[in-house]
Structures are given as C-alpha cells and as structure tokens.
Amino acid sequence: MKDYSCKTLILLCLLAMGGSVFTGCASVTIPSDQYGQPRETIRVVTEMGTDNNPQAKLHLKLANDELENADKLIKQEKKEEAKLSLTRAEADAALALALLKRDEMKSEVDAVQEKLDRLKKQTQELGGNS
C-alpha cells in the first residue's frame, strides 16, 4: 500500500511536470502585432527612403537582419528568443523612422527660413528704391 502510494505520487508528479512542459511550449505564442509591427515600420521606412541618411540606412539594415533572425528562430521553435529578436527589430526600425522624420522637419524649417529671408530682402530693396 505504501509502495503503491509512493509510485503513484511519483508518476503524478512526472505527469504534472511533463504536462507543464507541454503546456509551457504550447503557451509561448508570438502575438500578431509583435510579429507585424516591425514589418510595418520597416515598410514605412523603406518607402520614405534612407539614401540621404546613412544612420537611418544602418538601422533599417539591422532591423531587417533581426527580422530574418526571428523567422529562423520561429522555425527552430525558439519562440522566446524569436520574440526578443522581433523586439530588437522594432526598436531599430523605430529609430530609423524617427531619424527620417527629423530630417523632414529640418527641411521644413529651412524652407520657412528661406521664405522669410527672401521677404526681408525684397522689403529692403523696396525701401532702398523709395
């Protein structure tokens, strides 16, 4: 009776551990937004173009490399590591996007400054002709 109870107990523990392993493996899923977000950001950065910003170009490449790495890890069932790679990919892509947006704003500031300088010059010329 005592031996039977001990064996049963051990078996139940093993089953619980095994179950938790399977449960643990089955519960590591990658949310669809975590999978899709870096791809979307990379797409936007690629469309904006990184030819004029070497730093953005570098981070876009890093993001693409991490995405490729994530896909490999998913195939290898290493989903925790894949999630980390996707996080890195999103961080690099987001940085590339921020750099390009800063460039855009700089261009807008320069355009307004040029418009103001042109107006001041025209006004001075008009004043000189009076």
Binding site: M105, T123, S130
Partner: protein, 351 residues
C-alpha cells in the same frame, strides 16, 4: 554519518551563487544605463517624456533579467532595445524642438509680411501723392505762363490795331504830322514796354526752370543718402540716427557734415518754406534720457543748417524721444529705423 560529501556539495552551491552575484553586467547593459542617464538628465526628458518612459521600462526589464539570469541572451537583447529606444527618444525630442522653431519662424514671417505690406501701401500712397503734386505744379505753371502769354498777345494785338487805325487816319488826312508823331511815340513806348515784359517773362521762365533743375538735382543727390517722402502738405527727409550721430551722443559725426551739406542745398532751393527738425530715438534706455537726447540732436542739426545758410527764423527743432516709432522696437532692424532725424519742409510758402 559522513558529512564530507554534504560539505562539498554545499560549498559548490554557495560558490555558484557567489559567481552569479558577482557577474559583471554585459557591455550592452552598461551602455544602455549610460545612455538612459544622459537622456534623462537632458532635454529628452522635457521634450519626449513618454518615449523616454518606455525606454526606462525596457531598462528595468533588462535589469530584472540580469538580476535573475545574469549575462543572458535575454538581458543583452533587452539592453540593446533600451539603448535604441533612448536614441529614438532623443531624436524625437530634437524633432519637437524643430517643430517649435518652425512655428516661431512662421509667426515671424506673418508679422513681417504684414509690416512689409503696410510699408508698401504707404510708399504707394506717397508715390501717388508725389505724382499728383508734380502734375498739379506742372499744370499751374503752364496755366500761369499761358495767361501771361495771352495777355501779351492781347497787348500786341491792341497795339497793332492802334497802329493800323493811325495809319488809316493819316491816310485820310485827319491827323497832323505832330499829332501823328505823338501817337507813334506813344505806340513805340507801349511796344518797348511790351518787349521789356516779354524779356522779363522769358527771364523768369528761364530762372524758374533753372531753379527747378537745381532743386531736382539736389533732391536726386540727397535721395542717395536719405529717405525722402513727399506729399501735398510736406516733404520729409529722414536720416538714420547712426549715420549722423554716435550712439548715445548728440555731437555730429565728421562724416555727417557732408550729408547735411546736401540737405542744406535742398533747403536753400526751397526758399521761404518753413522747416522743422525732429529728433527720434528707439525705446531702449530711460524715457527721460531718450527725450533729452532727441532734443539735443534736433538742435545740433538745426544749428549746423543755420551755419550753412538756412535762415534761422525759418527753422525750428523738436525732440520726440521714443514716442513716434516707425517700426517695432522688438528687433534690431526696427530699432535702427526708429533712431532717426527728420527734416520736414512745409510745402506752403512762408514768404
């Protein structure tokens, strides 16, 4: 009981714990911490607080991972992500500041374009006035000359008629020789007077033309160094304060004398007209000081013009201090325009 294996196993466990506790943080985590600290102490915390907060949360995850697992793949990946997020937050802060710069420039452009439009409208009105004045002057001069010409022609015709009548009378034998001579003498005298009047008229016309030319030349020369605004009521010659005086002083610069000589030339061609010299300052400094400075400067210019021959009873001086600006005192360009001396010629004659 043999406790030796137990002691060895315990020692190994403690060493393992010790190794984990003393593990050095990976380079990625060290860099991430440093980047975060720098960003949190700078403008990123002001202009991109939300993004910096996200980076902070990632850093906390990396620190927890390091505490639990040491230098693991997860720790390094989270540290890497932290550093990228800190960099992104700094770039976003820069973009925010640039957006503020753009808004400030757009506001300045709007204000400046309003001022430029007003200045252009004012100049257009002034030019229209000048044109109207010139036209009126030309018309009145032409009308006057025509009137004098008509009067002379009428006199000539009258004389010709008298001569014709005399001749006819002589032929008809109605007048004696003596009477005829007397009549002829009277006609000759009238003819001489007429000729004299014609010569005087021609001389007056010529003198007027020469005076107009001298005035035009003087105004042209003056317009190269001063701003001139003409209306039906007055002509305003504006000289920049810094051209004539040193900053804060009322003594003339040596180089200003030549410019004031040109002003004096114009004033001497505008004989009989009242002149007022008005000093102006910008709004920097004390009001009392600015008022006195403007009065002293106006008086200095008046004194110099009198020395150059302008009649002292024609010219007065007035200081208006900072009370009549022509531009904004909020920027250097506007303040320069406000520091000025105006010489105002009234266009109605004071004879």
């Amino acid at each position: 009981m043999n406790i030796r294996p137990l002691l060895v196993r315990s020692s190994l466990v403690f060493c393992a714990f010790g190794l984990v506790a003393c593990a050095t943080a990976p380079a990625e985590l060290v860099e991430a911490r440093k980047a975060y600290e720098e960003a949190a102490a700078g403008e990123t915390a002001t202009y991109a607080p939300a993004e910096l907060k996200t980076a902070e949360q990632t850093l906390q995850l990396a620190e927890s991972s390091f505490d639990d697992e040491g230098d693991s793949y997860q720790t390094r990946a989270l540290a890497y992500t932290t550093e990228r997020r800190v960099q992104a937050a700094s770039v976003i802060a820069d973009t925010y500041k640039l957006r503020q710069d753009k808004a400030a420039l757009e506001k300045e452009y709007f204000v400046y374009s309003e001022e430029a439009r007003d200045a252009a409208m004012k100049q257009l009105a002034s030019t229209k006035n000048q044109l109207a004045e010139s036209q009126r002057y030309a018309e009145s001069t032409a009308a006057e000359l025509k009137k004098q010409q008509d009067a002379l022609e009428a006199q000539e015709k009258d004389l010709a008629d008298k001569q014709a009548k005399l001749e006819a009378a002589r032929k008809a034998g109605e007048l004696t020789e003596a009477q005829l001579r007397e009549q002829n003498e009277a006609i000759k005298q009238q003819q001489d007077e007429l000729n004299k009047k014609n010569e005087e008229l021609a001389a007056e016309r010529k003198a007027r033309e020469e005076a107009e030319k001298r005035l035009a030349d003087a105004m042209n020369r003056l317009s190269e160094i001063a701003k001139i605004d003409t209306s039906a009521k007055e002509t305003i010659i504006t000289l920049g304060g810094e051209v004539v005086f040193k900053t804060g002083e009322s003594a003339l610069r040596p180089s200003a004398r030549e410019k004031l000589n040109q002003v004096a030339d114009v004033l001497l061609e505008n004989k009989g007209k009242s002149i007022q010299v008005v000093g102006h300052t910008d709004s920097q400094g004390k009001r009392d000081f600015n008022q006195k400075l403007s009065e002293d400067r106006a008086n200095t210019v008046r004194t110099y013009l009198i020395e150059r021959g302008v009649a002292s009873d024609r010219i007065t001086a007035l200081g208006k201090g900072q009370d009549s600006p022509v531009a904004s005192n909020d920027n250097a360009t506007g303040r320069t325009e406000n520091r000025r001396v105006e010489i105002i010629i009234q266009n109605d004659n004071k004879s």
